[in-house]
Every structure is written in C-alpha cells, then in structure tokens.
Amino acid sequence: MSLQQPIRRKLDLKNGRVDLSHGAGGRAMGQLIEDIFHAAFDNDWLRAGNDQSAFAAPAGRMVMTTDAYVVTPIFFPGGDIGSLAVHGTINDIAMAGARPLYLSASFIIEEGFALADLKRVAASMGEASRAAGVPIITGDTKVVERGKADGVFISTTGIGVAPAGLSLSSDAARPGDLVALSGTIGDHGVAVMSKRENLEFETQILSDSAALHGLVAAIMAAGGAGVRVMRDPTRGGLAATLNELAHQSGVGFEIEEEAIPVRSEVAAACEFLGLDPLNVANEGKLVAVLAPEVADAVLAAMKAHPLGLDAALIGRAVADDNRFVQMRTAFGGGRIVDWLSGEQLPRIC
C-alpha cells in the first residue's frame, strides 16, 4: 500500500499573509519561493532549484553592482518596489557603459505582509526583467518579525560586461565638455511623494522608472570614446549628480535652467510643496558628459530612442577650482545649485 501524499494546500494569494514559517527554511518557505518567485521570474536557472547559479564568464571586463530598495509606498503611480529594483540595478550597470547580463534578488519580508502584494511585486519584477532581457537567476528569502521591515526590502546584485578598453569614469569630465540630460526631471520623486501620508495629490504624474541599457547602447554607438561619463540622477536629483561629477572630476558646471525639461505637472506639484525639481529623484533618466565633437550625434541618438525623446543639452563643464555647479536662471540671474542637505522636506515658507 503506497503512502498517502500530503495534500499540498495552495497559498492563499487572495487573503493570506506572510508568516515566520515562510522564512524558516522548511516546506512553507519552499512553497512561497516556488509559487511566487519562481512563477514570476521563470527561467532555467531558477527551475534548477539551487542556492546558486552558474554562467560562462563573458569576454571583456566584468562589472558588478549592488543595491537595496526600501521605497515607501511599495506601490506608486508608474511602478512599485519590484520594477524599481530591476530598473535601478540594470541602470547602475549601464551607466558604466556595460551590458547588463544577470540579476540576483534577495527579499526581506515583514511578517504580516499580504501575499497578494508579494505576488504583485514579484509579477512586476518578472515583467521588468523579461522586458529588459536581464534574467533574475538567483535569490534569497527571509522573513522578519512584524515591525522589523517596512513591508518588504529588496536587495539586488547586477552583473554585466563592458568592452575592454572602455574608460567611462566619474573623474573624466573636462572643461569644455557638454552635458546632456535624457529627459524630464522630478517625475519619480513627485509620483512617490504624492502617495505618501499627509501629502495627497490627485495627479497623473507617473514614476519614470525604466531600464536605460538600450538608451546607453545608442549613446555609446553614437559617441564612442567621446562619452566621458554617464550617471543616473536618483536620490538627490540632478543637483546631487552634477555636484558629485563636479567634485570627482575637479571641474565646475554651468547649466541653463531654461534648457532643463520639466513636465508642467511636476513643476506644479513642486510649487505646492515648495520643492525644487533639481533635488527630486529620477529613476529613468541619465546625465551624459560628452566631448564637444560628439555632442550633436549623441543628442540625436538619444532623441531617436523612446526613453530619450525629451533629451536636451543643458550646459557645459568649466574650469573652476570651487567646483561649483552654477545655473543661469530662466529669470536671467545666476545661482549655485548645491546638494540638498538631509531629507527633502516640503516647505511652508
């Protein structure tokens, strides 16, 4: 007589919640991983069910990055923590001029987190990963007690490969170089802030969260060695990125406010809150510092790409021992664009 098999109850994806057993390493955890993560990310590596995954080392220079995603709220207009994690990690690899190849994703889940939400996050990650052509090939899951994690935290690693001899570097900008921006600023930060408690706005602003490696490939094809450095202006916004590059390269920047694309709704939301779009996070934009002789070709290539339709040249690098980022305002005056100190808080004054 054969033994009866235990009935494998399905996860209650509608009303169920993550509990400590899902992180304990036993059958419950296995089921969670299979029914939620493997189902969403579906590829050969994950189907093999190992704790690690192997791949052939590609020719060229290996590039690696790591990131953590703790965004609140988890779901926001235009994205969620999952798609953000995929796009952000791909972008870090892409900014080096490298081709992203593989991702890992590690989840720290708070006890009580709704399974429906976890499934939604996983599905979103799976979609983002497939659309970008960069599979999630290994991962990890932990569950912590209620109160010890804000819903879910996602940690990622990205692996990519850059052609040998590529020398994009944040200290490469030189006086005379031109600065290109791939599109409108402030969309992501405003989309997220609009949902946060006590700052309710009914807007159509969507996060710009996107994988930029296709745009980067177009930029590199058009600009080659004339592309000095690229960076995506995430936390701290365009202001932080320009200041970082100024400091790392030992130059100043002069930018034109009128040249910087900002959606009118984003500008309006910033007016409501007393924020400067220059300090607001972006998740689907990049800044490229270019040798003057390639600037026109690169700009044209950016504008021809779906993620660079609003691309613009916004200024140039100059010799400046102070490493100031200076801006000519639309009004005609001048000011310094500085890093913002601390957390960006809406003002009343």
Partner: protein, 74 residues
C-alpha cells in the same frame, strides 16, 4: 514668510472646502477664509487654506505696468 501659490477652483465642496488645481495637480483645500467663490476663480493658497481671491483685472494691470516699466521710454 509664506509660500503661497495661485490655484484655480475646479469644484466647490461642502463644509467650506473646494478642489483646486494648478496645471493638472489637484488638492482639496479649505475655503473658509474667502467668500463668494465660483468655479474658475483663482485663489492664493497657503498651507491648505485659500487666503485671497486673485483679481484678474489687477493681475492684468500689473503685467501692463511690468511691460511698460521694462519699456524704452520711462
């Protein structure tokens, strides 16, 4: 002091509230301090309260003065 912005009334709501908008961004705010508001009026908004109606004629006059103060013969 006082970060205040001009917004347009898009809907009058009960309890002296209204929906206002600025370039597609909308918010529900208090209109307790301003009387006789109609949809389409513009108000100055500060920390969730409308403080004053914007007078479109005076606004136009200001722009004319600005243009003429900027003009060649003054």
């Amino acid at each position: 002091m006082c970060l205040a912005i001009p917004v347009q009334v898009s809907e009058i709501l009960p309890d002296e509230m209204a929906r206002v908008s600025l370039d597609g961004v909308t918010k529900i705010v208090s209109t307790a301090l301003v009387e006789d508001l109609k949809v389409g009026d513009y108000v100055v908004l500060h920390v969730g309260y409308a403080l004053a109606k914007i007078d479109p004629e005076e606004a136009e006059r200001t722009l004319e003065l600005l243009a003429s103060a900027g003009g060649p013969l003054q």
